[in-house]
């Protein structure tokens, strides 16, 4: 389906459209953050600390007088970049492994999928924490950790439909004619398994944002002074009784980003995957 038809259908699917707009705003905020942020996110102004929302500071200031809106805009950059990176890794590695497992079959299929089962056995946050314990804290490692956590999800998701597609006559014919793994998988299988993968990418972005915020909140993810929404929430707790605004807005910002991608994913599922949509 081309872009115009896609957006026409998205427009009619009201829920998905709202999600698309919210997600777009979040991504734009992340991309343009440094340009549109009214203040330097690290600039301290001791005289202006603990302010509520006002004309000069739209979302108020924190315990160092730093502008909350500017910090959230920069925080979005971290969240969105880390989440995008994580989901990208998971899609390429996990999706690739799932496709190869389906293509190879036999012991290699079993080996790959067993390994994925093992990764899937860990509660998400435990695996992410363990990976971060090995790699050390930081935004990049957080993205890597979340990417590893989500890899088995994509492997499973790609393998199932890939098995079906590989059994189709024309794909079997392409294989029989000597098409290599890359050609058969890339040209014939991938386009046919894209729909559920795209939906999962969007939904995973939504949860990756929450996981990134959780890890940074625990002090294991993004490290100060890099602005991060989870860190902002964690740091603001101590001074909440003086001024709750930073806690309120940083949490709202996390919610908004995660909500936007989830709603968008929900709408995408209606559009791209009619079979799944019925079950929602």
């Amino acid at each position: 389906m081309n872009a115009r038809r896609f957006f026409a259908r998205l427009w009619r699917n009201r829920v998905g459209f709202i999600g698309f707009v919210v997600a777009l705003v979040v991504v734009l905020a992340a991309a343009l953050g440094p340009l549109i942020a009214p203040y330097d996110p690290l600039a301290q102004a001791i005289r202006e600390r603990f302010q509520g929302p006002s004309g000069t500071h739209l979302l108020g200031t924190d315990n160092f007088g730093r502008d909350t809106l500017s910090r959230i805009l920069h925080g979005y950059r971290t969240s969105v970049l880390v989440s995008l990176g994580a989901v990208f890794i998971a899609t390429i590695v996990g999706g690739g492994l799932g496709l190869l497992a389906a293509y190879w079959g036999g012991w290699r299929d079993r080996l790959i999928m067993r390994f994925m089962d093992v990764l899937l056995a860990f509660p998400i946050i435990l695996l992410a924490i363990a990976v971060l314990a090995v790699l050390g804290p930081g935004s990049f490692n957080t993205g890597l950790a979340i990417g590893i956590v989500y890899t088995p999800v994509f492997a499973r998701l790609a393998r199932g439909p890939a098995l079906t597609v590989l059994s189709w006559d024309y794909v079997a014919a392409a294989r029989a004619l000597g098409g290599g793994a890359l050609r058969v998988l890339g040209k014939h299988v991938t386009p046919n398994v894209m729909a559920p993968i795209l939906v999962q990418v969007t939904l995973s972005l939504s949860t990756a944002i929450l996981v990134e915020a959780s890890l940074s909140f625990l002090g294991l993810g993004t490290q100060p002074p890099t602005p991060s929404l989870g860190l902002m929430l964690s740091e603001s707790r101590g001074t909440m009784l003086l001024s709750p605004w930073v806690s309120v807005f940083s949490g709202l910002a996390i919610l908004l980003a995660s909500f936007g991608f989830n709603l968008f994913g929900d709408g995408l599922r209606d559009l791209l995957d009619p079979k799944l949509a019925r079950r929602r």
Partner: protein, 316 residues
């Protein structure tokens, strides 16, 4: 059913072995010398001390022998000793499990209790203007950062109910009321996303059942809507809810691990974070192994229960 159970048990053994290998190898993936990192900031690091610690953890043996010792030890309940305190890791974990499991379990119960009426209400709103609203609210709930909800709850309670013991933990056996008061807020916070998730699933499966042929037949026979909904539809709609409980428990546990930090609850989450900050790797390995092990077993039980309840499940 018997065959299915046996096969799932074999799967379980395999997965647990894989988990144990990964957890065991964890420390070996740490870039640099893990022992030197563990000793970290201590100024009096002598080569003798490094060697002593290395021997204490068994790092001087060949890798497969280390794994074998570690695994057989773990099976006997011996997970090694904590590096700094010297207390057995198993003991430290056992001391922390009750708080985490209590909150996880209570949150599950609360989510089930709330999602039934909400799911029925949501299914009834089908086709009305409220439909979109219900969907949007459910997704807001689903993506609610529970640690944020916890922070806000803590704030409101400290302002409006300053005498409420909102922070810390006391075992139920010591002070039942104090225990419940302290776990109430974290339980509510972590269960909200699950309430939203279960409500959504119940709604969609209710709608599916209500549009099925046998419900239409029952309607034609003149069965009242009430009986239809509560007797026929709800029972069948419950089945998909059981399947997701396993997955949802994972999210729930993740939520609890994080929220322990908000309410200063001495559970496994705080134990893990502390272990990382202290570079106490034996302890960290123990926590990950034990919690994942419990999680995997519970998931298996949920699956078996599901197969037992729903005769339509294929065991192939």
């Amino acid at each position: 059913m018997f065959q299915y159970t046996v096969r799932r048990l074999l799967d379980l053994v395999f997965v647990l072995l894989g988990v144990s290998i990964l957890v065991f190898l964890m420390v070996r993936f740490i870039p640099g010398d893990a022992v030197a990192i563990m000793l970290g900031a201590n100024t009096d690091i002598t080569p003798e001390r490094v060697d002593a610690l290395r021997r204490q953890i068994g790092l001087d043996l060949p890798v497969y022998e280390q794994y074998w010792n570690w695994l057989t030890g773990a099976l006997r309940g011996d997970l090694g000793t904590s590096i700094w305190t010297g207390t057995p890791v198993g003991q430290e974990i056992l001391a922390r499990l009750p708080a985490t499991f209590e909150i996880t379990l209570l949150a599950l119960v609360l989510a089930l209790l709330l999602s039934f009426p909400l799911g029925v209400l949501a299914a009834r709103a089908r086709g009305t203007g409220g439909d979109v609203v219900v969907r949007v609210i459910a997704i807001v709930g689903l993506t609610l950062p529970s640690f944020w909800v916890g922070v806000l709850l803590l704030y409101f309670f400290s302002i409006y109910l300053p005498r409420w013991p909102a922070i810390g933990y006391v075992p139920f056996g010591e002070d039942p009321l104090g225990n419940l008061a302290r776990v109430a807020l974290p339980t509510v916070a972590v269960s909200l996303p699950m309430v939203a998730g279960l409500t959504r699933i119940l709604r969609s499966s209710l709608l599916e059942v209500l549009s099925s042929d046998y419900v239409r037949t029952a309607r034609a026979k003149g069965v009242s809507e009430r009986v239809m909904l509560y007797k026929h539809a709800l029972r069948n709609a419950m089945i998909p809810m059981i399947t997701v409980i396993g997955v949802q428990l994972g999210y729930l546990l993740s939520g609890v691990v994080v929220i322990e930090q908000v309410f200063a609850i001495p559970g496994v989450g705080r134990l893990m974070v502390g272990a990382i900050n202290e570079r106490n790797y034996p302890l960290l390995q123990g926590v990950v192994l034990v919690v994942t092990g419990v999680f995997v077993v519970v998931n298996l039980l949920v699956d078996l229960a599901y197969a037992w309840i729903d005769p339509r499940v294929e065991y192939s």
